[in-house]
């Protein structure tokens, strides 16, 4: 469905701080894939995700959606087919707007916005139903400002907003990393429910190897801007944390052994 071809991205190109973030990545994302992406800090996981979201244009390489070249599509245009949840719970929602206003904005993703009233009473019902599925009591707080919610509540709301209009591709960028363990677990559970119920094609970046193994049908490991492991299906189910660590050392050598703590 989405395919990246020899995607190259430099940051600070031509300066002393030049970083090669994506080193010619090619990746085919198939309809219904739930891909977990792992790798050490600075490996290029988030850059890969942002490359799909259109946050930047690649220095070379192309990206296709159903065979159409969308390399030049800006971020807001790609939002037609992507739903996104960010690491920072504050980034996915508007603090000064109410819950229903935030949801109304998400409800128009991929559609033209005109001079109709933004929050209509018919939509409120739908928003309430969707919110009640979260089990956080937000369905009774439609008119509360989102700034009043906790980080976990905001992330749950962002998750809901990203999928309110069914996205062809759901992009999750370490969306549980900034939350406390209990809330992180809830958000992860919510992610699993929504992705399974809607059969969403998903790309999820994570720092947590266990998460990466538990969720999804496919796992890729990124290192220095390249995909060094890409397993799916039965092969992925057999994979253990030890296997992944072994794989890491094979490419990284012992100099990176400090990553062991970060990753397990």
């Amino acid at each position: 469905m989405i395919s990246l071809q020899r995607f190259i991205k430099y940051f600070n190109r031509g300066s002393v701080n030049e970083v090669l973030a994506l080193d010619g990545i090619s990746l085919d994302i198939r309809q219904g894939d739930f891909i977990t992406v792992i790798g050490s800090n600075g490996a290029g996981k988030s850059t890969l995700l942002n490359g799909v979201a259109g946050t930047f244009f690649p220095d070379s390489g192309k990206i296709f959606l159903d065979g159409d070249d969308i390399t030049c599509w800006a971020e807001h245009r790609r939002a037609k087919f992507t739903g996104r949840v960010f690491q920072d719970p504050l980034r996915g929602t508007c603090a000064s707007l109410s819950i229903e206003q935030n949801m109304a904005l998400a409800h128009r993703r991929g559609h033209r916005r005109g001079l109709r009233i933004g929050v209509r009473s018919r939509q409120r019902k739908r928003f309430q139903e969707a919110l009640s599925r979260l089990g956080l009591g937000l369905e009774d707080r439609l008119r509360d400002r989102v700034g009043l919610l906790s980080g976990g509540q905001r992330q749950a709301l962002t998750m809901l907003m990203a999928t309110l209009v069914r996205p062809r591709m759901l992009l999750l960028d370490e969306h549980t990393a900034a939350l406390d363990p209990k809330t992180a677990h809830q958000i992860l559970e919510l992610t699993r429910q929504i992705v399974e119920a809607e059969e969403l094609t998903t790309l999820m970046v994570t720092h947590n190897m266990k998460q990466a193994l538990q969720l999804g049908n496919r796992l890729i490991m990124v290192h220095r801007g390249r995909v060094i492991l890409d397993v799916a299906g039965a092969e992925k189910r057999k994979l253990t944390v030890e296997d992944l660590l072994e794989r890491f050392y094979a490419v990284q050598g012992e100099e990176f052994s400090s990553d062991r703590m970060l990753l397990t």
């Binding site: 807001h76 508007c94 000064s96 904005l105 559609h111 001079l115 009233i117």
Partner: protein
């Protein structure tokens, strides 16, 4: 202060309240400090005055003025979004460019409207008492415009505009082109400012290239005074607060000008200083207050 001075202050408050609403749109809604207004206020005045002296209907001249203001705003927004010039600098560039353009439009530094019919004359002929015409008409127009802006900010597009000022990353990921919204918003803001300028010119009987000096500071003062007195909990309230803040601000100015200590009294040329001090005070008051409360609670 006598009753005429009060009526005068209310009339000024409403007519500049439309401008304050424009400043609210950029400064608060879009988080885009826009100094274009110092140029787009006289632009509106110039376009309206020149239209009227050329025999165009005064009501139609208001629409032309708004169109010109909208264009001026789009220039600032384009400089900022497409050419990546800092918003503050972009607006200053448009503002100084407008100085030359306004003189070109008027064919000189000012245009007199003496002997020409204005919007107000239409109502005076219909039987409205002369000295009440301006405050009543301006009040009605200001409240109408406020109502329209409140409605707009509740539409799909208006919500996108609020979100663009609050969290551009969020609204981009919901499929909105923030550049388009900024261009539209800054344009709309300057259309309101130009409308205000056009009405001022029709009221005082002349358009002058220097009439825009200090507009942004007066606008900010109105928005901040309004928020402090009337609150900004809802969008409707914040919009009304900007307009009513402008009325309060003009009354305060009239009071200040009427004061006298021995041989010292304020002159109109002191206005900019007073306004600047007022804005500094209003901007820092919440911080000083919270620090003071922190000190008190620590004891």
């Amino acid at each position: 202060m006598n009753i005429y001075a009060l009526i005068g202050a209310i009339e000024q408050g409403f007519v500049f309240g439309i401008m304050a609403l424009g400043v609210y749109l950029t400064f608060r809604v879009l988080d885009f400090p826009d100094l274009t207004v110092d140029g787009s206020l006289p632009l509106g005045a110039a376009v309206s005055a020149v239209s009227i002296t050329n025999g165009i209907n005064p009501f139609l001249s208001l629409l032309l003025a708004m169109g010109a203001g909208f264009l001026a705003g789009t220039v600032t927004a384009l400089l900022n979004t497409k050419l990546k010039i800092l918003h503050l600098l972009a607006s200053i560039l448009t503002m100084i460019a407008l100085y030359s353009i306004n003189i070109r439009i008027m064919g000189g530094p000012n245009v007199s409207l003496l002997g020409s019919d204005t919007v107000l004359d239409t109502f005076i002929k219909a039987g409205l008492v002369g000295y009440l015409a301006a405050p009543v008409i301006f009040g009605i127009i200001a409240l109408l415009v406020t109502g329209l802006i409140i409605w707009f900010l509740h539409t799909e597009l208006g919500l996108s505009m609020l979100a663009t000022g609050d969290n551009p990353q969020m609204i981009t990921s919901q499929g909105v082109n923030t550049h388009t919204i900024i261009i539209m918003g800054v344009g709309l803001s300057n259309a309101l400012v130009a409308l205000s300028g056009a009405l001022v010119a029709q009221n005082q009987g002349a358009a002058d290239v220097n009439m825009g000096v200090g507009t942004i500071v007066a606008g900010l003062a109105s928005v901040i005074v309004g928020e402090t007195i009337f609150g900004d909990r809802t969008i409707a309230r914040a919009c009304l607060a900007a307009v009513l803040g402008s009325v309060v601000y003009r009354i305060a100015i009239a009071l200040a000008l009427g004061m006298q200590w021995g041989r010292f009294s304020f002159t109109p040329s002191d206005l900019n200083l007073i306004t600047a001090l007022l804005v500094v005070g209003a901007l820092t008051a919440p911080r000083i207050k919270s620090r003071f409360q922190a000190v008190v609670s620590r004891r």
